[in-house]
């Protein structure tokens, strides 16, 4: 018996198969053929997301040592730990596409890859930890829930776990704010101040308006992205206004009002100039965030080298 002739499919056939998978809303898995641009786009998106988790540990991490009760300290420590975990899953998902984690980290600390610009704002009081949970994690969830249906399997699966944990964090943040609102006048003022500072940056987390978002169309066609920036932003506003009311805080937008015809909330104009400034590295804390991460890599390089050397010796024996 002769071995069956291996029929090697042509590039066109592979492309057709890929298109059919996407069209049927089925998932692409690591062993499947995929267009180079799809792969590159995904690596960029997943890496950016992973970087955001890692950099996102810092604004709250600053408060780990200063949390005002042991219970809040435990909650915050568990949250920061979850974020490190999210970073790990996401880098793993990127590695299934052939990326290398050390290389991605280099790109982060050299400013070659971006992370969510929201983390370039400072955390001034403990209320910021609550508002980051409520608004920033809330916006992240609005962005990420559709990614649980991403066309790329490992990414979609990572996102399911991430979203579940994020929504737990969101509730804890909101609960902190609720507790503070029930506390002293100073605590209430801290909450309002934090909401005033984080509201607009949270709206910016959904990215530029649809008419100025160049990569969106291709991402939506490939089933990597599922909703337009503006639609997700609107959804976030619709969700946050009732939560703000229940909390008893004012959102810093005089134009915010229920549109009686559509039942959705109109809101004011976002300052896209600020957004572009922060995204292009001129936010209040960009330098600090990257420096901390670079230091973690560089100051501990000897540890990584030691671990590698040890592994090599003991594999050799």
């Amino acid at each position: 018996m002769s071995a069956p002739t291996a029929v090697r499919p042509t590039e066109d056939e592979l492309q057709a198969q890929f298109d059919a998978t996407i069209a049927a809303d089925r998932r692409i898995e690591p062993r499947d053929w995929m267009p180079e641009k799809y792969r590159a786009g995904l690596v960029r998106q997943i890496a950016q997301h992973a970087h955001s988790e890692i950099i996102g540990m810092q604004p709250e991490g600053d408060w780990l040592l200063k949390a005002p009760s042991l219970r809040r300290k435990a909650v915050l420590l568990a949250k920061v730990q979850d974020e490190a975990g999210h970073g790990m899953y996401l880098y793993s998902a990127a590695e299934t596409l052939g990326a290398d984690r050390a290389d991605l980290t280099d790109k982060l600390v050299n400013g070659k890859q971006k992370y969510s610009s929201i983390f370039n704002y400072p955390t001034l009081t403990y209320a910021d930890c609550g508002v980051i949970g409520w608004l920033v994690d809330g916006a992240a969830i609005c962005n990420q829930v559709p990614l649980c249906r991403s066309s790329y399997g490992p990414y979609a699966r990572a996102m399911i776990r991430v979203c579940k944990e994020e929504s737990f964090h969101q509730r804890q943040g909101y609960e902190l704010l609720m507790t503070m609102m029930r506390g002293t006048p100073e605590q209430r003022a801290m909450v309002q101040d934090a909401v005033d500072r984080w509201w607009w940056p949270s709206l910016m987390m959904f990215g530029p308006p649809d008419d100025d978002s160049p990569n969106s169309a291709q991402s939506m066609a490939w089933g990597v992205k599922r909703h337009s920036n503006d639609e997700l932003r609107q959804r976030f506003v619709d969700m946050s206004v009732p939560q703000a009311q229940a909390l008893g805080v004012t959102l810093p937008d005089p134009e915010l009002a229920l549109d009686e015809t559509t039942g959705r909330y109109r809101f004011g104009q976002i300052d896209w100039t600020e957004f572009k400034q922060v995204i292009s590295g001129n936010g209040p804390c960009n330098e600090e965030r990257i420096t901390r991460r670079r230091a973690a890599r560089d100051d501990n390089a000897w540890v990584t080298e030691a671990a590698t050397a040890y592994a090599a010796k003991h594999a050799a024996r």
């Binding site: 991490g61 780990l64 042991l70 420590l77 730990q81 790990m88 506390g183 100073e186 973690a296 540890v303």
Partner: protein, 260 residues
């Protein structure tokens, strides 16, 4: 019950202060995996501290903390946030500055080995709360010790630089073991009642474990220091504790009437 409360405070303060030191690494460890592991150890210690401080409070051992903390603040927080340094009774081992990653892991190895030996025996305590806290602590501390031991092995037997740093860490931490094995009067009274464990009884076991790990890590075991009564247990501390507590307590003390 005052003795029992004081004893819970000793064990609780060791956990709380070491947790604070470890947490300094939570967003600047060498690897993501290590940040997760450090947060894990921190959470375990924090959990032990909370149970022990609450137990101390329910025994009425609150020191001067209630003069500052308002009623709405639970005992665990009154004790953690509203005691001054001279009311803290942790060993110097917990409060010492962390140094580099190697020294941090050596300290974690020593602290978790000593605490594990103690807590393993405490499972048999006549006090049911203490014995339950101990039973919960044993697997946690076993993980901390093994995690730290793995790093000491890798660093001791890794590169030349890491060997040098690991040996420096061992040399820096070893003298602090002098405080670990002499019982206070409180402990002695509780040992007689079958409530506490005499730390002297754990000395050989602790030294054996540490010697084995350090030797396998190709490092030199320094001379063991002579045992002495722990100054920390008497409220006497190094200059390193006050700034640690200032960070820990600052926000809570700024808002004594707040609830969080």
């Amino acid at each position: 019950p005052a003795d029992l409360g004081a004893y819970c405070l000793m064990l609780g303060d060791d956990a709380l202060v070491l947790c604070q030191r470890l947490t300094e690494w939570a967003t600047r460890a060498p690897e993501l995996e290590e940040e997760v592991a450090i947060a894990n150890c921190g959470l375990d210690l924090l959990g032990q501290a909370r149970l022990l401080l609450a137990r101390a409070g329910s025994c009425g051992v609150l020191g001067r903390s209630r003069e500052h903390a308002t009623d709405s603040i639970p005992d665990e927080d009154a004790l953690a946030y509203f005691r001054d340094p001279d009311e803290f009774v942790n060993h110097h081992l917990a409060e010492a500055d962390g140094g580099d990653f190697a020294q941090t892991m050596v300290r974690l190895l020593v602290a978790s080995t000593a605490r594990l030996a103690l807590v393993a025996h405490l499972r048999g305590s006549r006090d049911p709360v203490l014995s339950a806290i101990a039973a919960k602590g044993v697997p946690e501390l076993t993980y901390h010790r093994d995690h730290a031991a793995r790093w000491v092995l890798r660093l001791g037997d890794g590169t030349e630089e890491s060997h040098r740093r690991a040996q420096a860490g061992v040399d820096a931490v070893w003298p602090l073991t002098a405080d670990l094995f002499t019982a206070t009067d409180v402990e002695r009274r509780l040992v007689e009642q079958g409530v506490a464990v005499d730390p002297a009884d754990t000395r050989d076991e602790v030294r054996d474990v540490l010697t084995m790990v350090v030797e396998r890590a190709t490092l030199t075991v320094p001379d063991w220091p002579a045992d002495r009564p722990s100054p920390g247990r008497a409220g006497e501390h190094t200059d390193e504790l006050a700034p640690l507590l200032a960070t820990l307590q600052g926000l809570a003390r700024e808002h004594p009437a707040a609830t969080w």
